[in-house]
């Protein structure tokens, strides 16, 4: 454990030493180190946490933006700007859209591939159609389906966790009619989410577009 580079300037009480006095002056902490300090990633005035595999820096960025940052040696992982806005650029997130499917009667259709718009962290696989949770937490998931069959059967879109249905939305039979849902679901590490549709009765139906999106919210 090492404590480095703390500068105290004119710190004291005014007037001296009475209950309720306000502490004045400045305590400048260029690097309050826990473990040996190896500051990087443009942060300054940080509290540094070091362990054998990773350094963490909690403090202000060094680019004069006055943005609070929680960073490691690779990137700023969480930031709070001077307006109080928090960004977490490494949160797992995905958004994929599927076009032009046909769901056969009394059959479950498994969505794979699709056009991927967002895949932060690459936890969605186009080959399997799975979003695999990298960390345990609560994920906001949204899905929608838009039919392109003018008549026939009610379409559906189902969000599944580890292959088991969690919640679903229906789109009754009318061309361009849609169904949608938004849910929050807890996933343990390596739980996976998929999207399916099924044929309600003996008639197949066409799907114009289906969307599957989600985000780790905490």
């Amino acid at each position: 454990m090492a404590l480095t580079k703390i500068t105290a300037t004119n710190i004291g009480y005014t007037p001296a030493n009475k209950a309720g006095d306000v502490l004045t002056g400045a305590l400048t902490v260029p690097n309050l180190g826990v473990g040996s300090v190896a500051d990087s990633n443009t942060t300054n005035r940080t509290i540094t946490y070091q362990n054998a595999g990773k350094n963490w820096y909690v403090g202000l960025r060094g680019d004069t933006s006055n943005v609070w940052s929680i960073a490691d040696d690779s990137a700023h992982r969480m930031m709070v700007d001077t307006s109080g806005r928090i960004t977490m650029p490494y949160q797992p997130s995905w958004c994929v859209e599927y076009y032009g499917m046909t769901v056969s009667a009394s059959t479950t259709y498994n969505y794979t591939g699709g056009t991927v718009f967002i895949n932060n962290g690459s936890y969605y696989s186009t080959s399997t159609g799975r979003f695999t949770a990298p960390v345990a937490g609560y994920y906001l998931v949204s899905a929608s389906i838009e039919q392109s069959t003018s008549s026939g059967t009610t379409g559906s879109v189902v969000v599944n966790k580890n292959g088991a249905s969690q919640f679903q939305a229906l789109a009754y039979s009318a061309i361009y009619n849609s169904g949608s849902l938004t849910g929050i679901i807890y996933c343990a590490v390596n739980d996976y989410l998929t999207l399916t549709s099924y044929g309600n009765n003996s008639l197949s139906y066409n799907v114009y577009t289906t969307r599957f999106t989600g985000h780790l919210i905490g």
Binding site: K54, S144, A169, L170, S178, I184, I185
Partner: protein, 426 residues
Amino acid sequence: MGYGGKIASRSGDVRRFNFTGNGSNTAFDLGFSPATQNQLIITINGVVQHYDAFSVSGSVVTFTGTPAAGDYIQVTAVVDAVGVAGIPDGAIANVSSLKVTTTPVLIGNAVGTFTGPLIQAASNANSWIQINAQNLNNGNNASTDMVLARSDGNDLAGYIDVGINSNTYSQAAYSIMQPNSGYMFTNGGDLVLGTQTAHNIIFHTGNTTSASERLRISANGTVIANATIASIVSPQTAIETTAVQFLDSSNAANYLGSIRSYNNSGYNQSLRFYSTNIGGAKTNEIKSLEIDGYGRTTIPNQPSFFAYKSNGGYTGSTQVIYNGVNHNVGNCYSISTGRFTAPIAGRYLFSAFTISSSSGGTGYWSIRKNGSAIAGADWSGPGYVNSCVTCVIDLAVNDYVDVQNVTGSMYGSNTSENCFTGHLLG
């Protein structure tokens, strides 16, 4: 009284005392007390006196005969410092040098328990003992210093300097200091401050009472800044590496929370934030936020719920009571009232999706805040028509959010098609 004798050669210091006889005085006070008579060589007019020609009691030498008036009496004492019971005040006032080789110079009237010191100042008084140095010059380059040099050092390099500036001190090369500043710094090596045994290092300003403590490095490695802000603690568990711990400003025994890093693959080398209530025990802390080694952030205690209605549909104007939950972090959603009640002011995301009953028709439903509609959806169709509404709502503490079916008939007989969910965004 002439006598020629011999005294053994001895190491130690030699002191001489001169007297002049007056024809009547036989006792002469040396001003120090020799340990034994054997330490003394006495000559009168250059003639060494026999051992039996005098005696010693305390500091007084008494001759068996009476020196004549004008006799030149010289007493030579060969002593070890250990054998000297004491030197009176002022006895060495004019000594230009003091050299010892094997025994320490003792200053004071007590002997400490050190082994092999060169100079020792000791006291047994219920007051302070001082070794003073003072530079009386008040110039802008004047200071009083105690400099200790290393084996190859001098007062320019390789030293530690403890000193104090004069009351007008002003030197650009030492502008970090002001007049009257006391200081301690090293040249050519680290400055190490510490306690070799389990004791604290305490910094204070203003005065010397406990209320003026500003920084404490405790014996167990905890660093407490200003007695209020934080303490840096050593790892608490095997997989913890470092932590900053926050304590109650009014009672440092009260743990408030901490930020800890982990060095373990199972923890993805994460940084974690823990919190608890004021005065709460550390064992009751909760993990508020975690950022893992890939930057993925989880907030496991953020209020969140997912509720479903599986105990039957509903028709007409009625509040929807979702009777089951998949998760309910903080228990803010009530399956008896159908309400989510905000435990903390903030911005919340809510979403609900439904399907109409098999009979279809038309209908309308809405998400409400404190009984007033915020966002809603109409539906129309032959049956099982889906509708979904998502909205962000600002809530104060104890504001509540629920779902109201306004018109039409809704399906509500499984856990996946008529659901209500929400989450504190921040």
